[in-house]
C-alpha cells in the first residue's frame, strides 16, 4: 500500500525542550493506528504537526504527497482533545460550516448520527453539555470522507457507554481506504480495534509495528508490551 504519511527527520522544540527528536515515520493507508505513550511523550505534538497546528523545527512532513498546508488540511480530519465550537453557533450551522469548508463532508451521515443520538440540530452550542459537544464534534469529524483521521485522546475522561459509542463511531464511520491515528494511553479499551501501534518515548519512536506481529514477537498483549517499553517512565 502507498504511504499516506511521511515524516523525515522531524523535530519539534519548545524553547530548549525537545518534544520530538528526529522522528522518521511512514504510515500506510487503510490502517487503524494507536499512538501510544505516557503524558508528555510527544503524542499531541506529533498530531498537531500532522494537522498543521504546529510547524516542525526541523524536518519534512508530507500527507498524501502534499506538504502540510491547505492541501493536506483538506484531506485530514482532526479531533482535538477539547471542544472547539464557537458558542454563538447552532449545531445545524456547524454542519453548514463543515459542508462549506470540506468537500468530503457527508452531511446525511452526520444528520443521521445526530438523529440517532437525539441531538437537536437547532440547539445552540452554548446550551449543550460537555459530553454532547464532544459527541457532536466526533460526529462532524467522522462524517468526513478524509484520507487521514487524527484523533487526540478521543476516549479520555468519558464514561463506558460514551466510550463504546466513540469507538463504534470511529470504526464504522471512517473511510476504509483511510488511516486513523488514535492517540491514547487507555490501551485496553482500544487494543482490539488497532491494526498497528506507534509508541513514543521522550520524543522518540520507541516501538512501531503491526499489533499481530508485535504480539507474536513479544509473546504478550499490547498492554503488556506497553508496560515493558515504558517501564520506569511513570
Amino acid at each position: 500500500m502507498p504511504d499516506l504519511v511521511y515524516l523525515n527527520n522531524v523535530s519539534k522544540l519548545y524553547g530548549s525542550k525537545v518534544a520530538l527528536n528526529g522522528v522518521n515515520l511512514t504510515i500506510p493507508s487503510g490502517k487503524v493506528i494507536g499512538l501510544l505513550g505516557p503524558n508528555g511523550s510527544g503524542k499531541t505534538t506529533l498530531i498537531k504537526l500532522l494537522c498543521g497546528l504546529l510547524t516542525p523545527t526541523q524536518g519534512n512532513i508530507s500527507i498524501c504527497g502534499y506538504p502540510v498546508g491547505p492541501m493536506s488540511k483538506a484531506v485530514v480530519a482532526y479531533l482535538p482533545d477539547r471542544t472547539y465550537f464557537p458558542e454563538w453557533m447552532k449545531v445545524r450551522e456547524m454542519l453548514d460550516y463543515f459542508c462549506d469548508f470540506y468537500k468530503d463532508f457527508r452531511r446525511p451521515l452526520a444528520e443521521m448520527m445526530l438523529a440517532n443520538l437525539r441531538i437537536d440540530p437547532n440547539a445552540p452550542m452554548k446550551t449543550l453539555s460537555k459530553g454532547t459537544k464532544e459527541k457532536v464534534q466526533l460526529i462532524l469529524v467522522m462524517s468526513r470522507y478524509a484520507a487521514l483521521y487524527l484523533l487526540d485522546e478521543p476516549i479520555a475522561g468519558v464514561d463506558p457507554v460514551a466510550r463504546d459509542f466513540i469507538l463504534d463511531t470511529i470504526i464504522r464511520a471512517h473511510n476504509p481506504e483511510s488511516s486513523v491515528i488514535i492517540s491514547t494511553h487507555l490501551i485496553t479499551d482500544i487494543e482490539q480495534a488497532l491494526d498497528s501501534v506507534i509508541m513514543i518515548k521522550y520524543g522518540n519512536i520507541a516501538l512501531c509495528g503491526d499489533t499481530d506481529g508485535l504480539r507474536k514477537a513479544w509473546n504478550m498483549n499490547i498492554v503488556d508490551i506497553f508496560k515493558e517499553v515504558f517501564k520506569g517512565c511513570f
Partner: protein, 252 residues
Amino acid sequence: MLLTLLKHEYKYIIKSFSVVYALFFGITIVFKIMLHMFIAKDGEFSSTFTATLFWIFAISWYVFLFVIGLMTITNNSRRFKKSMFGPEGYLTNTLPVSTSTNIIAKIIAGATNYVVSYFAVALSCNILIIGIDGSGKAMKAISEGIGELFTEHFDYVFAFFFCSFFTYLAFLLFCYMLGALSSMIGGSKVKSFFIGLGLIIANIFVFSAIVTALDDTSALGIMFAIGFYYMIIAAVEFLIVHNIVKNHLNLQ
C-alpha cells in the same frame, strides 16, 4: 475559500451586531419623536419626567455614536483572538485555507463592520434631522458641499481616505498583534499591556517626528506621509501576526 470565510465572519457580525443596531435605531426613533415634541413646544416639556426622558435618550444617542465605532474594533479584535488563539483555534487553524487568507478574511470583515457602523451613524443623524424646519436646505447644502469636494478637491478627498484607511488598518492589526503576542507569551495580560503601551508611545514619537519634519509641507503632503507611514506599520503588523499564527501558535 476567502468568500466562504467571509460568509461565516459576516454571519457572526450579523448575530452580534443586529441587537446593537436595532437598539441604536430604536433610541434614534424615540429621540426623534421627543425632539419633535421639544421643538413643537418651543423647548418646554409638560413635565419633569418627559424632560428627564428626553435627556436620557439624547445622552444615550450621543453615547451610542461613540460606542458603536469603538465596539466594531473591540468586537472584531476579540473575535480574532478567540477564533485564532482560543479553543476555537483548533477549528480555524485546521481549515483548508492559508494563514494569510484567514487573517485577511478577518480584516475585511472588520473593515466592513466599521463601514456599516459608519453608515448606521450617518443614517441615524439623517433620521433625526429629517422633518425639522430648514433640514432640507441643510441636507442640500451638505450634499452640494460633498459633491464640490469630490469634483474640485479630489486630491484632498483621496489623501483623506488613503490616510484614514491605513490608520484604521494599522490600528486593527495592532489589536490583532497584541492578541497574538499575548497568546504567544502564555496569555499574560500585564505583559501584553506593557508591550502595547510601549508600542503606542513609540508610535506617538515617530508620528510627531514625521509631522515636525513635514512642518513646511502642505496638508495634502502630510496626509499622504501619514498614510504611507501607517501602510508600512500595517504591513509589519501583518507579518508579525502571520508569523505568530504560522510558527508560534500557542492555543489555549
